[in-house]
Symmetry: C2
Subunit: 321 residues, 2 copies
Amino acid sequence: MSKTTLKDVAREAGVNFTLVSKMLTNNPNARISKETRKRIEAAIEKLGYRPSASARALRNGRSRAIGMVMRDLTNAYFAHVANAALKLFGSRGYQLLIALDDGGDGAVQSLLQRDVDGILYLGSKLPDVRKIPVPLVLNDCILDGADCVNINFDDALETALSRFDRSAVVAGLFFENSLWKNSLARVAGRLGFDRASPYTLQPDLEMRTRKLAEICAQKPDVFISSGWHTTKILGGILNADTSGYSPKIVVHANCAGAFPKVRGICGAVFSSTTEMLARSCEVLVGKIENKPTALGEIAATYIAADSEQFAALADGEFRLT
Amino acid sequence: MSKTTLKDVAREAGVNFTLVSKMLTNNPNARISKETRKRIEAAIEKLGYRPSASARALRNGRSRAIGMVMRDLTNAYFAHVANAALKLFGSRGYQLLIALDDGGDGAVQSLLQRDVDGILYLGSKLPDVRKIPVPLVLNDCILDGADCVNINFDDALETALSRFDRSAVVAGLFFENSLWKNSLARVAGRLGFDRASPYTLQPDLEMRTRKLAEICAQKPDVFISSGWHTTKILGGILNADTSGYSPKIVVHANCAGAFPKVRGICGAVFSSTTEMLARSCEVLVGKIENKPTALGEIAATYIAADSEQFAALADGEFRLT
DNA sequence: CTGTTAGCGCGTTCAT
DNA sequence: ATGAACGCGCTAACAG
């Protein structure tokens, strides 16, 4: 029942314990005879030996654990993301530690305490970089001192907007710090839409609903909705409206299936969450292992609502794209 | 950027580093003067010191980490469970390490390597207890050498079955090792149903679908369906059936919302997943901290499909009960 | 009240 | 090819 250590294995195999260590770490300057190697392997098998991650972390200064600050897994999108991340980092030999975002920096602190080698931050507000002494990767934002894996929305958004009249009132529904805001500003400027404005939504569903109602009251002609839930709430409000108000909606499609059925959706800016995650993993692990990896940008494309691609996206069970 | 240690704090505060340790661990036989305490606290704050979990684990023999073997988080039920478990163990001061079930014992091994103090096993097949030298808790099964938190289905199932004729052909749709099987056998025996039989379903959806089609071909009068997805698949098969076959279905309700709309559902055996999780956490932590906790049994109740309770359960978004 | 010491399991460097 | 010694950061037993 008590944990077996290197020494136990060594004793069982009749060798010095450092020799076992050398074998386990594939230490090159230690050539071990076939015979002893066999004996050691047998001993490991027999005793069910497993090196202690704590001891290794202490000794090596690296834990091969990575922290992920996550939003509510009750949200299908984040649950899928967590699932993918677990597999992704697992296949790279890292244990993923998930910490639920508490709005403050509790999650980050608890992860750092666990000696994680790096953090993939998917929380709702930007973390304080100065308090994070390990490689840090975020998505869809800009943060000095951290690596941000971002989607380039510009081209897709330009395609989307170019279908409307320049005089249209455009309302962007974004979260705090999202690059959607910058993208909308750039594209609107480029195309001459001077009645386009971004609104900042809260993660909290109630606050978001209230805010959306306010925005709807101003009756914009076009919505750019960056989120699945936001689109759904928006749909609810519009359905309840009897004044004949009927705006167009461009959605962000970073997941598929059971797409909100909302009247007025005319197209989607599509990006691959899987690709974004893979890149984030690549960048983070690269940083940790000192193998430089270019950040790059994830591409986004525009898909019209009447296309086959859109139908495929809207169809079936909820899933990551 | 380099991690600050106890010694750094001690140097900053001008004291011996063991004194800092004593303060942090609330060591009773170390009375520290108000003054030095202040200085130490200031130093900790200033340097942003955080004790290393690895070092503590090595030293204490306990990591305050708990492993959870999980099924696919893509499944809403498990995602909700993971979310709840993360909060539950977090509030007890434990970091939860999630490992995705790989069908073998890879998940367990990787967790043990991380020096977890205990394991909550929610994988699809029973683990090998001999290879698990830490407290182990499972749900809905019996396993020697482990603590199993179980639901008592008997009374609820008896209520459900008593509404049918004893001559009815009853098909139980269960997973391997589930106690549903035993419960059905007991209750059927007690009530004199001698045409009741359990079927073992596979987690894999395709295999499950095939198996269900086979079972349906035998046209049982009553189904006892232990799972949300199973009920959904069953519904699909029955809907496609044009022969007029229309069996009654009793479902297991351990989650709520967006309940599968399937013709023939006449009632549900209700149990609380939240309660089950809380109990599992209690038992596991109790075992780890050497505070004996009774296993007990989670209660289940019968709810008829035409009742208000059932409607409430079927209504709204997917959620844990 | 404060300081000294030993050792948790492991990997590395250096000496056989 | 093998072993001895050291220290990673921390806690606890013991000494001043």
